[in-house]
Chain length 483, copies 4
Amino acid sequence: MRMPIMTAEQYEDSLRRLNLVVYMFGERVKDVVDNPIIRPSMNAVARTYELAQRPEHEDIMAATSHITGKKINRFTHIHQSTNDLVKKSKMGRLLGRETGCCFQRCVGMDALNALSIVTFNIDAKYGTGYYKRFLRYLEYVQENDLTCDGAMTDPKGDRRLPPHQQPDPDQFLHVVEERKDGIVVRGAKAHQTGALNSHEIIIMPTISMREEDRDYAISFALPSDSQGIIYIMGRQSCDTRKLEGGSMDQGNIMFGGHEALVVLDNVFVPWDRVFMYKEYDFVGQLVETFASYHRQSYSCKVGVGDVLIGAAQTAAEYNGTERASHIRDKIIEMNQLNETLYCGCIACASEGHKEPSGTYSVNTLLANVHKQNVTRFPYEISRLAQDIAGGLMVTMPSEKDFRSPEAGKWLEKYFKANPDVPTEDRMRILRLIENITLGTAAVGYLTESMHGAGSPQAQRIMISRRVNLQQKQIAAKKLCGIK
Amino acid sequence: MRMPIMTAEQYEDSLRRLNLVVYMFGERVKDVVDNPIIRPSMNAVARTYELAQRPEHEDIMAATSHITGKKINRFTHIHQSTNDLVKKSKMGRLLGRETGCCFQRCVGMDALNALSIVTFNIDAKYGTGYYKRFLRYLEYVQENDLTCDGAMTDPKGDRRLPPHQQPDPDQFLHVVEERKDGIVVRGAKAHQTGALNSHEIIIMPTISMREEDRDYAISFALPSDSQGIIYIMGRQSCDTRKLEGGSMDQGNIMFGGHEALVVLDNVFVPWDRVFMYKEYDFVGQLVETFASYHRQSYSCKVGVGDVLIGAAQTAAEYNGTERASHIRDKIIEMNQLNETLYCGCIACASEGHKEPSGTYSVNTLLANVHKQNVTRFPYEISRLAQDIAGGLMVTMPSEKDFRSPEAGKWLEKYFKANPDVPTEDRMRILRLIENITLGTAAVGYLTESMHGAGSPQAQRIMISRRVNLQQKQIAAKKLCGIK
Amino acid sequence: MRMPIMTAEQYEDSLRRLNLVVYMFGERVKDVVDNPIIRPSMNAVARTYELAQRPEHEDIMAATSHITGKKINRFTHIHQSTNDLVKKSKMGRLLGRETGCCFQRCVGMDALNALSIVTFNIDAKYGTGYYKRFLRYLEYVQENDLTCDGAMTDPKGDRRLPPHQQPDPDQFLHVVEERKDGIVVRGAKAHQTGALNSHEIIIMPTISMREEDRDYAISFALPSDSQGIIYIMGRQSCDTRKLEGGSMDQGNIMFGGHEALVVLDNVFVPWDRVFMYKEYDFVGQLVETFASYHRQSYSCKVGVGDVLIGAAQTAAEYNGTERASHIRDKIIEMNQLNETLYCGCIACASEGHKEPSGTYSVNTLLANVHKQNVTRFPYEISRLAQDIAGGLMVTMPSEKDFRSPEAGKWLEKYFKANPDVPTEDRMRILRLIENITLGTAAVGYLTESMHGAGSPQAQRIMISRRVNLQQKQIAAKKLCGIK
Amino acid sequence: MRMPIMTAEQYEDSLRRLNLVVYMFGERVKDVVDNPIIRPSMNAVARTYELAQRPEHEDIMAATSHITGKKINRFTHIHQSTNDLVKKSKMGRLLGRETGCCFQRCVGMDALNALSIVTFNIDAKYGTGYYKRFLRYLEYVQENDLTCDGAMTDPKGDRRLPPHQQPDPDQFLHVVEERKDGIVVRGAKAHQTGALNSHEIIIMPTISMREEDRDYAISFALPSDSQGIIYIMGRQSCDTRKLEGGSMDQGNIMFGGHEALVVLDNVFVPWDRVFMYKEYDFVGQLVETFASYHRQSYSCKVGVGDVLIGAAQTAAEYNGTERASHIRDKIIEMNQLNETLYCGCIACASEGHKEPSGTYSVNTLLANVHKQNVTRFPYEISRLAQDIAGGLMVTMPSEKDFRSPEAGKWLEKYFKANPDVPTEDRMRILRLIENITLGTAAVGYLTESMHGAGSPQAQRIMISRRVNLQQKQIAAKKLCGIK
């Protein structure tokens, strides 16, 4: 049986065939794949292809398609059991550890799974044919092992107003023209992680809607280089270090992430790629389902946490402080926090359930609880890593100084600590910690942990909705004798 | 098929048939079952029998014996799958919520499961017959639906010395005479939760041992009223409120826990109840296996947390403050912490594995991480509960004042808040919060959460042992280019 | 010059001369001073008299009256400098450390100081004569070295309604009759710390008021045994241990606190003791000024923290664990938290300022910040103390068991840890930790820290009002180039 | 009377006259003052001159020399009272708020004050003449209003070895030749904040020493451009944004800090600038005294906290979310933490004391407690700022995109939120938050808060030494009846 799993090389080639309109630093980017600022993020996505080819990771990284029976990359899979959900969480940790950054591909997986549930449910109510349409699209994605960008967050304009009352109607993406063969849409999606490394972009609405907002209640998929799509790269802390040509100062010498503003300027979408059209009463369900899946996806931060713990332990050894009891205790605390996060992404998966479409969904309450912890613990893990690393992490001169004859000899001499460790290695590990706690990877490990898949307050609202307060109150009243 | 599951009434009767030697407040307790200070703890254990009879809880509370095929109470079950382990965690939460206290029966279950693993392993190494002997004992426990006290913690004397070097050799329980028909042992076990409500007591050593300590490397089971066993009741905060005769001031009007010092003063143990005898090299394994199971068992605190959250929400409603945004946020935070604990006990179970004996064991790392969080979050949940409850919780006069003609009228008048709620109900719910955060139940919810199943540092040591630091370091080094 | 400073004995005698109407456990208390439950709280107040007599504490405990020039107890002093305010904070810590509990006398001092400011300000606006009247009263208090209860907290009934709209008009204390020689008032004050040990009670309103609430806008002082005042004792966790007759189980063998509901059932107040009468526009100022002073007063918890740290360190030594690095680190952390609290009460004092009346007032923002930390850190300090203490703290049998021939020998034997320390001493220090973290003193150290002088949210509101956000925004905008 | 206070312009001119040997990015820096990466840090130091000229800040920023009686910049002042110490703390906050970064000049002030105490004490023991020599040097500094770099931290090499046992003897700075007219020294000082903006460098040893280390027990001052001193610039997160030529992306458009490795390669020091020479028994005192002063100096972070709070509030207003209760609560929490830090630096100052030399020193315990909080709270304040800011902070395209015709129009359109606020302003405030929490200023606000003036563990050791545990234990024992 043919396995529709691409190699990393095939993936890179496929990206070269795209014709994306990308702006960065005020200019059109010509060779997107080879641009040194974008390339590390492509490398990270490529890792999702590469690992799926490795026998030792196959169980986690690959799955069997429920529609074709073929072996596919798990990132294109629709979860068929809680075991699948648990493996998804483990895949996130594995790739986080392998790349030390955001590997970007989970959002499309989450969009596909959410649509598999909601299209089925819309059909059940309205007799529409979205689910069948979706399955055809899914097969296309699986067969070609595509990377999809799942795009939800609209710019939102004036936060106090619903979509249809915005002074600028495009602040939420909406349909502007209905044609025989499809629809024309306009709007934008902000904070799009991995957009430039995706073959497809799957658009979903961003908040629950009422009837007045029906033009905004749309979901669809497009090839990422469709006419009218414009990408504007976001800049990350320390992004331009990747342009400096060295190999030390960027910390993570291979991998990174990126985010972009995606503008859809009157883009045409054929009907067979439209998965929701004005069924405003299902928007809330789609948003919530996607959000729950995506909150689970923050299992990846456990893997980045692994890297940071490993780096901190290594820095301690290189500094010669690894036996101090307070250092050991801080390493334990980092693990305690990191494994608590792991418990969250495992529990929301193992406590998952089957939806009418057959797709397995995570436990919404626990997925939100997990993500809420992700908005907190990585910050504390980072703080502890900086504690262990020592001040040199932020006062260390550049690689160019290290390589220069005049300055280099002093750095070589004075930054030597553990006599068995090359000075360069000490500098490298500190740069990695800088990268994750202040640099390009901090965007993913910290700020994205805060706001990705919904800001902390969004999770708190979901927690308050999903917790069974009444059951708890009944238990309490009974115990103290209140009738 | 006969179901060897007792009713609560049968359980109470069976306790009456025991002839325990119990001291409390300096005197021998005659009617243990009916003593008002002990009775609530008996009620809590009885709940483990009662719920197993209820169809709606059967899936969680009952199991099928792997030795007899009969339906048994899960508390006597040997876990046959990760699903069994997950159900154990859920059983803990359920009973915690039902009783609002420590229901005491988990420790025997954990001892049985640990012995099922370790006796098998001893036999494999030494060709002994412990496992078969254990299975016969297990069948006896299952058939009679017995409550077992699992007893591990020795007094330990001078913490700097191993057992055999203690000035007083009895600071660790040990064999003092070997006879043809069995052994004679001496020593004590401290902090024995639920000892007075148990039919059996299962003794295990408390720390890893070397050859010199082999006389201390013993494990066995005894009927709780064996000749030479003396129980001295520990006192809890607010214990004597249960003697006052009212129904409000004790907070939890039905359930409680208890702890006792159990002294074994030259007690005879027949060979068929001895499960380890001087195999000092397996002591560490037994301790660690039991500890992991028992750390999982702190799922019960999630249930007590449910009660406390329910009580806090109810108090807010009775106080008339439940709509304040800060109150709502604190309720969410309590849930966030409580559900994070839940994730821990679910994850360590669902990530469990099969031991050579066939028994399923929890993931040791995650069980320790879970317990470590239990040493922290209940304190913060309690703090938030006290915040929401208001100061009246600790300044409220007694039930007797409330019932008295002179004082009562003023309390009725001035402690009225929400006009729709009887003053008495407001007082009751505050007393329940007091009970869990300062009173008898605080012993279980707070201090036992801290020290039960090992003090925090014990978990930290296990975490540092079980975490794969090297894997993390390799990942980090690769990413920053260290060869 | 005569020093109007009483001895502890004189204080006790003066209390015997009072004729208080006190209810406890549903009965009228006859010998208030000698009642074993109340007595420890009297002992604690007596300490404020005793220490003022000691040369080594004179600088802190005594002051010079700005109206008579005589040496007086600082608790009756009007602060004349920031130095006075700093000494007040230090007096709180000293007495907290001396008594290990709430010593109750600060609230009257805070009421006197607040009135010294607000009566002056009312006069300035309305030409009334409150300030002169207040000074006469103050002189009486100083000359007789009286303990005053400052009473602010009304029952408040339905939290959503202002005083004049309450279904029961007495939920806020108010004037019910105006007479030629004075006024008649009705209502109650809840949570009155130290009420039974006070010579005087100073009544203040509890929340800001508008014109419709003017009948509630009153402040006055009364002898504590005035006709119509009824006291109903609140019960504390473990209160009845004081009735048991031993000396160990109560933990703190000498000192305690108490709280009472104080009912004013149509009580007459002569005009010369009325300090505010319907000037509703000054109620907010009085509440806020008193609250700021009283939030500073939580310097006392630093002293109780000292006791708890000392007890934890002693317990570690008695347990034989004091050299473990994690124990040492926890002791450091307890100190870190405790001294951070100290910084708060020192800073709000040293940053104080002079009010128009000449009285020095604390920095309101910092006093609120201090109190907010007091609602948090003692809980964490307690948690760490319980960690260090070990589980025995809550599983230890009673003193009666220890003294009994049968049980006692086992306790003596098996609770021995450090060979140089009597078992009894180990039990005593653990009982003290229990007392402060779960028992009678926990009411003061924890719950009162939470709610006394205003619940946490009250401080947060004040912080948001007092912080100069605009100044911070201007600074930020300037730095990033926003015009 | 002539005021020896320079203007900002004079300061800049004076720096131009220096001939520093500086390396950055592997090359010798020619125009240090005008280098765009270094310039913002010069601007920040210049602010310490500029504000001292402003009447509204004179009380805080200027002082009267105790040796000349002239008005001087407080940064060159020897503290003559606790009031001086308090003003120092306020000066730190003021400048932190004015610059939003590390303004670098405090370290020299702290070195001068520490030397004023220790030189006096050495003379008292050994009859040397250091103090007089020091005062002459001090007068020179005051008269010329010089900026001094206080240099303490040696590279330290192998952490397990004392100075004299290091394989490379230069890992701690030491004397290599004693001459008639002075000494020759060799070594390096790492992490030197503000080194390139200083006229003088004051060298101190970094750890307590024993007799064998006497060659390392030296302290002295040098002009910063002395023959043999080499500076190698450390790189900061996002440093090269300052080279990009725009005005938005660097966040703080005017100010910054810098750190450098300072190498002393056989540098000659004349005797009149040597303040300690082999008096190894005073090294500990010098280190500790300097450290206490410098831990107090972290009052500056309160000022940076002010900026971050102001920025977060502004971002909320620009985002249109400032009225959400959770946003308001987070702003309060940021203030709570920031003002708690303020309490620390005020309390350690107001509780200061006079040393034999007449210099006032801070309370060591409280200064350490303060700094310890500084290693924690800024991280949490940053986390909250990122929460409020929203994800756009890290996904926002560059200023060049904003200015470009193709990309700019989309950014202008889609990053508009609050209709009354220019899109550019929203981007600017978010860039400022990025700057402080991830960019160049994060080096100062976070990592320097962690490690500057000693890493967290250094403070914990001092706290454990300075806390009076015995007093606390006596108090505890007395209360529970232990004799």
